[in-house]
């Protein structure tokens, strides 16, 4: 498998990267999706700009009640970074389930979200976290929500020449319980269905709940009717089942040789119930 010929540059400053992007180059982050696509000639960029030397895109910083993650931060770094493990364990738990050890060593959060594979893991967590994404191009910088960012399969609001600069997630309030549950497609490591849940309790009732879903349809989403059904209940087994039954409501589910649309919807409900149950057990 030999990709088409291309020109390659690996500048060490974001400014140089943005200039090359403006001139038509395609950005290369960890390469865990782009390189396989180039090998299959599904992608054939004439010019690649490699972001691996841009140190100003690789960081995890806590600021107030938010955690800022640079686009070139690897899945392994997200999986193991102490601040994330303590204050945004949902994202760390999700990162630990991506692909495999070698993929997590090179793959990056910015590259993964920009690629927007409908079966990728991060989008479920980013929807549940109501994450924000900072996008930058040669002319301007803008911030969008995860809900706005993911448009369709492999399609985001990124414009030509624009890249994800950072992902902003909340530092969880004390007592928040979270869980990412995934049905893995064993050959690829991708999620046939993935469910990310955040729950808070107050005076014996569920006072806050967010449910993010990936793998089920062309893009990730928040299961808002499931959230509304669970909120205000005591979170008993029947409440969890009622809410989980709604996660695929109104969704045009994907169908492939691994799982039909109906089976995918069934998996989503079963795993939503498991994820909600675990998240509640982790909430205090």
């Amino acid at each position: 498998m030999v990709p088409q010929k291309f020109e390659y540059a690996a500048p060490d400053s974001l400014k140089s990267v943005l200039q090359l992007l403006d001139a038509g180059a395609k950005p290369l982050a960890g390469g865990m999706s782009l390189i396989p696509m180039m090998k299959l000639r599904l992608a054939a960029p004439e010019q690649l700009v490699d972001l691996q030397k841009v140190k100003e895109l690789s960081y995890i910083r806590e600021s107030g009640n938010a955690i800022h993650i640079g686009a070139m931060t690897t899945h392994y770094e997200v999986e193991t970074f102490p601040v994330l493990l303590r204050k945004c364990p949902l994202l760390a738990e999700t990162a630990a389930e991506i692909g495999d050890l070698q993929v997590r060593n090179r793959g990056t959060i910015g590259g993964s979200v920009a690629h927007a594979d409908p079966s990728a893991d991060y989008p479920a967590a980013l929807q549940a976290l109501e994450a924000k994404l900072v996008l930058i191009g040669a002319q301007k910088e803008r911030t969008v929500s995860a809900a706005e960012f993911f448009v369709d399969a492999f399609t985001t609001v990124l414009e030509p020449g624009e890249i994800v600069r950072e992902v902003i997630v909340p530092a969880e309030e004390l007592g928040t319980g979270t869980r990412y549950e995934k049905v893995v497609q064993p050959a690829s490591g991708f999620a046939i269905v993935g469910v990310a849940v955040r729950v808070r309790r107050s005076a014996g009732k569920i006072s806050f709940v967010r449910v993010g879903i990936t793998g089920l349809s062309n893009h990730s989403y928040r299961a808002t009717s499931a959230e509304a059904t669970l909120a205000g209940t005591t979170g008993a087994a029947a409440d969890v089942q009622n809410a989980a039954a709604l996660v695929a409501e109104g969704i045009d589910a994907n169908s492939d040789l691994h799982a039909s649309a109906n089976y995918r919807k069934h998996l989503a409900s079963v795993h939503a119930a498991r994820a909600i149950t675990t998240a509640i057990s982790r909430a205090s």
Partner: protein
């Protein structure tokens, strides 16, 4: 494009096509054929090598991305005829049958033991999820990692 990297302690400088994959650079240019090409689609892990201390699938990286990098391949593990403890453990525990996946298995195992010096079975199996063995030898491979970890603790 001219690249310079260090492989198993030796410096290599070559002019390569930008589209040359690292695995082909290692095997065909540096003539280090220990790392294998299995699936060439980043699923099987037979091409796993260490780049700047991280286990990576060298079929999913361009050689030009390794410019300036420090690379270790399976050939770099034994020193002066003494096998690396993981190589010893794979041998003793019968962690291979045909041996095709073994170079990648050992390079991934090295990373697992660096991160989990005393790994649980779950940590071993989760860590090896990106390496495929078609002789169905996983149990012996898991045993080999446990033996290597126990040996290191002695």
């Amino acid at each position: 494009m001219k690249i310079t990297c260090t492989i198993n302690g030796k410096t290599y400088s070559n002019d390569v096509e930008t589209r040359l994959l690292l695995i082909h650079y290692l095997r065909e240019v540096a003539q280090l054929t220990g790392s294998h090409v299995g699936c060439e689609t980043s699923l099987c892990g037979a091409c796993t090598v260490e780049v700047n201390g991280k286990a990576v699938k060298s079929c999913t990286m361009f050689a030009v991305q390794a410019d300036g990098a420090k690379i270790t391949t399976i050939e770099g593990l034994a020193s002066n005829g003494t096998l690396h403890p993981l190589q010893e453990a794979f041998w003793n525990e019968h962690g291979l049958q045909c041996g095709f996946c073994t170079p990648g298995m050992i390079m991934a195992s090295k990373q697992i033991l660096e991160r989990y010096p005393n790994p649980t079975e779950d940590e071993i199996r989760h860590g090896l999820a990106g390496n495929v063995c078609r002789c169905t030898g996983y149990q012996h491979i898991v045993n080999a990692l446990k033996a290597a970890a126990a040996g290191a603790r002695k």
